[in-house]
Symmetry: C2
DNA sequence: TTGTACGCGTTATCAT
DNA sequence: ATGATAACGCGTACAA
């Protein structure tokens, strides 16, 4: 079924069919109904390719993320997909891992598929050294670029993020003010948001004259391995004499590692050791005791990002950067 | 940059450019190099719309799932996306929730986007009553349909699944043979695989002359709520006098609910109560003690599904149904 | 309000 | 081996 067939069966021209299709008001009610009926009867659907060819847009946005099975990213992808679909946009998903080469390769692939915009999901798309980010600039020359959870200042690049710096700073200070002194920070990423968080912790410790101790956990293919690594790292740290009465983690899964450590070491939570996670994911509640965790407002961020994107695609101006505050959700581990 | 521009700059016809593009062997090495050079210089990329219009295929498959943020589905989507991309296919992701109307609506949407096939991820796409599945038949009239984790017998529909029936049956028997008598089954889905699992439990109990006790937990928007509901349900059950010395769950998150219940009730795991989960997800290891859980071979299933799909799209014949056995992974809760 | 005709960028079928 | 040209299905000036 093409627009031709419909026009013939309805006894009108293809132009009229096209007008009906696109909701033009220059069609008489009678003609519209006639055409609509025929379309209905033959359950006609316009050809997306032909339409795209003429319009040069597919009403599709490319979603790029490192790993859509990561708890946090999966949630983000889910929100984005739902919200974009509500606005009439489809999503092509592309998981590109954590290395630069693939980020570039897959961005281009998405562009070649004629997406209207690219959404980078996760702060790992913005790195510390400027050259590694030039691919973002390149894309932004032709397409609006949206970044979730990181900021990159360039024309046509728009960011929605949580104030991770202050969130961690405040979480750490909360521990300090409740009397904890030996607070360890555990992280697994040096991305944009990763370094903000780290700085938040450092500043809090320094301000209060406490010694900062940080541990970096390598990202592992299996989350479960990351949890185990965290537990082991803490065990090693303690057995080498380091005192610990609190752990701030850049991630809920790291926090679960800390919980595992505490359990194995026979420490009671939160009396002997307090633990704070990040993301306020389902992991926080799945555990017993439940994790105190920073909620970084993912749903809100996604909603804002999608709204912004729609605005931009319709030609409106929007702020380059939108920031929300994190929220410390207190539960059983503090 | 179009094929025209390239042909002009290379001093050949568009037909030749097209041949180079598609790797035809009817181009002299010299001409090929010349054209390739021009393409390279102008970093030309063929227009996906025009190509699709001619070929009527986009090398894209539609992935339909209820909720891509669900732990299990997210992992599946991730595997599928990676593996399909390896084979040169893109994925349009579409999350349609659990109701029939949206399944149909979004399937059609994907078809209108000219996907080459639709992959249904999750057993919830096949329901008990036949009418609810007719939409699958409809799609299969024009496109190969792949189903992950459920089976539906119809032409042009192919399934990859785990033998959930036997997996649960054996898990239950394992508990029975280790002396447990009051084994409760907890589930949250009556989908294809959901009912297989349930039957596996029932059969095991009946065979050994034990009384089956099952509890259905409503799916909740937040996983954490589901965990809490499970814990509460078990509390209610016990306080009304039902004895429990083991719990088999259709899902790891339900199992975490059981763990939560045990903790709150002061029961020690696994001495007082044994718990078995399903999916062998990260939740199994995130917890302490770690969950004994059935591994339903997701990665294997996805790999097989993708291989099958590629075969079909290239015109080969493949078996309608591929079944793998589940694997009981024993850990701390049994 | 409606219709005609062309362009969008490919692929594929012919010739040559 | 290469080139000319007709599809592919739609949107849209422009004409009526």
């Amino acid at each position: 079924m093409t627009i031709y067939d419909i026009s013939q069966k309805a006894g009108v021209s293809i132009a009229t069919v096209s007008r009906v299709l696109n909701g033009s008001d220059k069609v008489s009610a009678k003609t519209r109904k006639k055409v609509l009926d025929v379309m209905e009867r033959y359950s006609y659907t316009p050809n997306a390719f032909a339409r795209g060819l003429g319009l040069n847009t597919s009403h599709t946005v490319g979603i790029l993320c490192a790993d859509s099975s990561d708890l946090y990213l999966a949630k983000a992808v889910y929100y984005l997909e739902q919200m974009l679909r509500d606005k009439g946009y489809d999503c092509i998903l592309c998981c590109c891992g954590y290395n630069l080469e693939n980020k570039i390769k897959y961005s281009n692939l998405l562009l070649s598929k004629k997406v209207d915009s690219i959404v980078f999901v996760g702060s790992n798309f913005v790195e510390a050294n400027e050259e590694s980010n030039s691919y973002i600039r390149d894309i932004a020359c032709t397409h609006p670029v949206m970044i979730l959870n990181a900021d990159y200042a360039a024309p046509n690049v728009y960011s929605c993020l949580c104030d991770d710096y202050h969130a961690v700073l405040e979480a750490t200070e909360e521990l300090i003010s409740s009397g904890r002194k030996n607070i360890i920070y555990i992280y697994n990423s040096t991305s944009y948001s990763g370094s903000k968080k780290l700085t938040g912790y450092m500043d809090a410790m320094n301000t209060h004259g406490l010694t900062a101790v940080t541990e970096f956990i390598d990202r592992r293919y299996e989350v479960s391995d990351e949890i185990l690594d965290t537990a082991k790292t803490l065990e090693g740290l303690c057995s080498s004499g380091t005192k610990v009465d609190a752990v701030v983690c850049a991630d809920d899964q790291l926090a679960l590692g800390a919980v595992k450590f505490a359990r194995r070491a026979g420490l009671s939570i939160p009396q002997d050791i307090a633990i704070i996670g990040y993301n306020n994911s389902m992991l926080a509640v799945s555990n017993e005791p439940e994790l105190t965790s920073v909620d970084n407002r993912l749903e809100l961020l996604c909603k804002q990002l999608v709204n912004n994107l729609i605005e931009i695609l319709s030609g409106a101006e929007i702020p380059r950067k939108t920031i929300y505050s994190g929220l410390l959700v207190k539960r059983g581990t503090t």
